[in-house]
């Protein structure tokens, strides 16, 4: 285990709880005692990076690496600082290359390496890096999106769209959108027991939705059936049934239920969502999907992903200007929406705005890498003395 001073441990604790100001001071206290402690520099680099102070982060990460060339979290901080800063792609390529060698299973390193290669105009190397990332994690969304963008640059939108659709289908946050519409934020710890659910419509539908959230679709079906047995024209129950069918890849059943729900309640967001998703997965129905999603965004206007779904359907119709507007709304609502950032990058490319497109891709990386929290994984491994 790498020996850490009490000041460093203090800084670590503060940093983990996002008390940035105090953590930075604690790092300086640690360095006042011993400025040759790489973990202190590394931690400071991470904190400065979190504050978007890139030049300062680069200086500290570089010091950490000078003190210990095996300090993997410092490489991560350094690479991210170069990328977020922009304009330092050559240095960035070297850092990610190094980190990908040292921590070969770090998917982010390959994705970032690809983006640095791409920014330095090395498209082939970039594509290889993203493919490498997908070998490690076939669901890595940014690798898929980057490959879609690369396809767009070479062969146009028709070739890129399947990549966008694939990444969209793998996007777990789409389910979050559906459940957010029902007011459910997280998965419940306790499984739903249909026998214990109160025998009224509201309780049954609530429990059915919770069961769907926990992927217990049989329970959902059972509870929905109870509601429909009492009122076959219950649009909310039909919408939930449609979603449950969609989750089981039974798209025609999903469509049938959603269409029936919409016939009963034309602006029901949950039914519109499922119907739009079904349409968007079928070739030739882009126009129908767009039509549904236009109504859906009105019903779910505060949800970024609703606007993304609309935008993606508009891409299929070559309505890039309208797609751009929808993506922009999505980004205003959720700046961290990687899917919207890449979509907007694609639209910018169709308009010949390369710098704007690059910016959106970089921004997607910014939010995605912040969300991943890989720094602490590498830091803990390093500070515990594991082979870096």
């Amino acid at each position: 285990m790498t020996k850490r001073s009490s000041q460093v441990l203090m800084a670590e604790g503060l940093a983990r709880t996002e008390q940035v100001t105090a953590a930075v001071e604690a790092c300086y206290d640690a360095l006042a005692v011993d400025d040759s402690e790489p973990v202190a520099h590394c931690l400071l680099a991470h904190l400065l990076l979190e504050g978007d102070f890139y030049d300062e982060a680069i200086a500290e990460a570089t010091k950490a690496i000078e003190l210990d060339p095996d300090c993997s979290p410092a490489y991560l901080a350094l690479g991210l600082a170069y990328d977020r800063r922009g304009g330092m792609w050559d240095q960035s390529v070297l850092v990610w290359h190094e980190l990908a060698e040292v921590v070969p299973d770090l998917v982010t390193a390959h994705v970032q390496l690809g983006e640095a290669f791409g920014a330095a105009q090395f498209e082939e190397e970039a594509i290889d890096s993203w493919k490498c990332a997908l070998e490690l994690d076939p669901k890595e969304p940014r690798a898929i999106y980057n490959l879609a963008i690369a396809a767009l640059k070479r062969e146009g939108m028709a070739t890129a769209l399947p990549g966008f659709r694939k990444a969209g289908e793998l996007d777990p946050s789409q389910d979050d959108l559906f459940f957010a519409l029902l007011g459910i934020k997280s998965v419940s710890d306790r499984p739903v027991d249909p026998a214990k659910v109160r025998e009224d419509r509201s309780s049954r539908l609530g429990a059915a939705a919770l069961a769907a959230r926990a992927d217990d679709l049989f329970v959902t079906a059972e509870l929905v059936r109870m509601v429909l047995d009492e009122d076959p024209d219950d649009a909310d129950a039909l919408a939930l049934a449609a979603f449950a069918y969609l989750k089981q890849e039974a798209t025609n059943e999903a469509m049938a239920c959603a269409l029936r729900a919409i016939a009963l309640k034309p602006d029901l967001a949950t039914a519109l969502y499922t119907l739009g998703v079904v349409y968007s997965r079928r070739a030739g129905l882009s126009k129908h999907a767009a039509r549904v999603f236009i109504v859906f965004t009105r019903a779910a206007s505060q949800h970024a992903l609703a606007h993304v779904l609309l935008a993606e359907s508009l891409l299929g119709l070559q309505r890039y200007g309208q797609a751009k507007k929808a993506y922009r709304v999505a980004i205003r609502l959720d700046p961290a929406c990687v899917r919207a950032r890449f979509g907007l990058a694609a639209v910018h490319l169709t308009e010949g705005l390369h710098a704007e497109a690059d910016w959106e891709v970089r921004r997607a990386a910014y939010y995605d890498t912040r969300r991943q929290g890989s720094f602490w994984r590498l830091y803990d491994h390093y500070s515990e003395g594991g082979a870096s």
């Binding site: 940035v20 300086y28 504050g51 890139y54 300062e56 792609w89 330095a120 609502l333 710098a355």
Partner: protein, 641 residues
């Protein structure tokens, strides 16, 4: 003669080709190809370049002296170098251009201050080398001091000055060189080509004392500063306000030239380059600059080095391509010069700024204090908020005189000095209005007194911004909302006499207003400007920006510090140059989409004409629309009934 033609004839004035009171200039570098060496210093005929510049109505060119080329051996001056400088002066003279001579500059390519006999001593601090610099400066100044073609002397540029490590060294060097120049030339203005904010950010050296020794100050956005303060698209968001902000921050007692106009990397399309140049030029004009300098004439032809083609140097991008073909940005300069030529400073005066964004002194603190890093970004957001409210806003620093202002904004400061609190108390008591946002930590006891709130700890909800309006209309047309924006702090406030105007979703006060003496004191319980800056300024929730703009606008207007010309579009900046019989209104669209801005004024407008001398369009009202293209600008002459 028809009525329209008659009106046109009335507005027609003699065309002023170039405006000496507001120099429009450009840097012409010694080397335009990276493969060239230091000995190729201006080894080309600059005449065609100067002809193109004169045609584009450029008035001033900055050229850069190479010490290395002029003094290859100690005390021996190269005749060839003198000949090339003569040729430059001749070319400038023949095209009626003025020359700003930069004596000690680093362009990171031509090795201009890297004298081989210097033996690695620092030319900024070594007495012997400074003595040699004095000799060279006097030699050159003496040779051209009587030449009308010379406009002024720049002692050094910022790239050279980043080598200084202390204020004292910088001040000493500047004073020595300035005295040396003044010994032989008592007339031409002298300047030090550094921006007080960007140099401090890069080096930790505060150059204000050294700048103040001269006749002009400089403001410019350097590439690293842009990365720090406004990294993102150049044709929207904070990037488009950065020139104006730095200009305001640099403007103290000296006239300021906005330097380094133009984009810093070759990534941008020609239209983005043109839009960025246009935005910077008009920002300069609208925010009180005394001239502008564009960053480069010709694109630098970079080496196609394997494996990387990108170049880290910042001064790569010009207004002509590597073959000398004028780019659209040169056209922008020409159009701008025509506007400037029509705004005679003796006839039109800028509307006074009576709203101030205060940069706290903690900005000068170094790490581990994060205040020095957070501060400028928060102040930039505050400045943007004030601009979006169309307020006549200035930037001042803690310790500056407050008397000239009617409204003050103190954005997200962690702390202010005791004297400052005392001055703020007097300011508000005397009728000034202030908006302070909580910046974290304990609050000063003065907050209780001035703002009428009791600080109960930094424990409010931070994951989102929620606003629930308790007193509609108390601070403008505020709306309730919930938005996704992480807040660094949220002060819980107890009642101390202030009116709670809005709360968060849990009922904790978000906005309070307190009548203190004759003035109003508004407290925002969270560092809203810092949150906007540290979030994603290009994707900030519009409702939060609306909140800030509404509060600022309402407070300033109530304090009598509202705009002379109001506008309905936040992204459109408006500046007014007031004349005796007519005014010139300059408008700039900070958004990359076309808009039609509706302007409104107090007086009845008879007609509006293009300030460059177009036909008068009758208005006959107090409200009129101005169509603006994406990042477009327009200068209008307003006549009144």
């Amino acid at each position: 003669m028809s009525a329209k033609k008659k009106q046109a004839a009335e507005v027609a004035e003699p065309v002023i080709v170039r405006q000496a009171d507001f120099p429009v200039g450009i840097d012409v570098y010694p080397l335009d190809e990276e493969r060239r060496g230091w000995a190729d210093w201006y080894d080309r005929d600059v005449e065609p370049e100067f002809a193109a510049l004169a045609e584009a109505r450029v008035w001033l060119v900055r050229i850069f002296v190479s010490w290395k080329y002029f003094e290859p051996q100690v005390g021996q001056y190269d005749e060839e170098a003198a000949g090339r400088l003569d040729a430059i002066m001749d070319a400038a003279r023949s095209h009626d251009l003025k020359v700003l001579v930069s004596l000690f500059a680093d362009d990171r390519l031509a090795e201009m201050t890297d004298v081989p006999w210097g033996k690695r001593r620092d030319p900024r601090t070594d007495d012997y080398l400074i003595q040699r610099e004095v000799s060279l400066a006097q030699r050159i100044v003496n040779r051209y001091r009587a030449e009308p073609v010379v406009w002024g002397w720049e002692l050094a540029n910022e790239a050279f000055c980043t080598g200084f490590t202390s204020e004292a060294d910088l001040e000493r060097w500047t004073a020595t060189l300035r005295d040396a120049v003044r010994e032989v030339d008592s007339e031409h203005p002298i300047l030090l080509g550094v921006d007080p904010e960007t140099l401090f950010r890069t080096t930790g050296v505060d150059p204000r004392a050294a700048i103040d020794l001269n006749e002009y100050a400089i403001s410019h956005v350097t590439a690293p500063y842009r990365v720090y303060a406004a990294e993102g698209p150049v044709t929207s968001g904070p990037a488009t306000y950065l020139d104006g902000f730095l200009l305001r921050a640099a403007a103290r007692d000296l006239p300021v030239i906005v330097d380094g106009v133009g984009v810093q990397s070759l990534d941008f399309s020609l239209s983005e380059e043109a839009a960025a140049v246009r935005t910077s030029l008009y920002s300069a004009l609208m925010n009180g600059a005394s001239g502008v300098m564009v960053r480069r004439y010709r694109d630098l032809e970079t080496e196609k080095r394997e494996p990387y083609f990108r170049d880290p140097f910042e001064v790569l991008v010009g207004v002509a391509d590597i073959e000398g073909e004028p780019k659209p940005s040169l056209g922008e300069i020409k159009r701008f010069a025509r506007v400037v030529a029509r705004i005679d400073r003796r006839r039109y005066q800028s509307a006074p700024e009576c709203v101030g964004v205060l940069i706290p002194a903690e900005r000068y603190e170094s790490l581990p204090s994060l205040a020095g890093l957070y501060g400028p970004r928060a102040c930039l957001q505050s400045y943007i908020g004030a601009k979006e409210a169309h307020l006549p806003v200035d930037v001042l620093r803690e310790g500056d005189e407050l008397g000239a202002y009617h409204a003050l904004f103190v954005p997200s400061a962690m702390k202010l000095g005791a004297t400052t609190w005392h001055e703020i108390a007097s300011f508000v008591q005397g009728g000034g209005s202030i908006v302070v946002s909580y910046g974290g930590g304990d609050t000063d006891p003065a907050v209780r007194e001035i703002f009428g709130v009791e600080f109960l700890g930094d424990h409010g909800v931070r994951r989102t911004v929620s606003c629930r309006v308790a007193q509609p209309g108390a601070l403008g047309d505020l709306r309730s909302f919930d938005a996704r924006l992480k807040l660094p702090h949220f002060a819980l406030l107890g009642h101390g006499g202030a009116t709670v105007v809005a709360t968060d979703a849990t009922g904790s006060p978000l906005l309070t207003v307190n009548q203190y003496g004759q003035g109003k004191a508004v407290f925002i319980a969270t560092p809203i400007e810092r949150a906007l800056a540290q979030g994603d300024p290009w994707a900030a929730p519009l409702v939060v920006r609306d909140l800030l703009r509404t509060v600022y606008g309402s407070v300033a207007r109530a304090a009598g510090a509202g705009p002379i010309v109001d506008c309905d579009t936040p992204e459109v900046e408006v500046a007014v140059f007031m004349g005796e019989e007519d005014d010139i209104v300059v408008v700039l669209n900070h958004a990359p989409e076309a808009v039609t801005a509706t302007l409104s004024v107090e007086r009845m407008v008879a007609g509006v004409a293009d300030a460059r001398g177009g036909q008068l369009t009758e208005v006959g009202g107090k409200v009129f629309g101005v169509p603006l293209s994406a990042n477009g600008a327009s200068a209008l002459r307003l006549t009144y009934t």
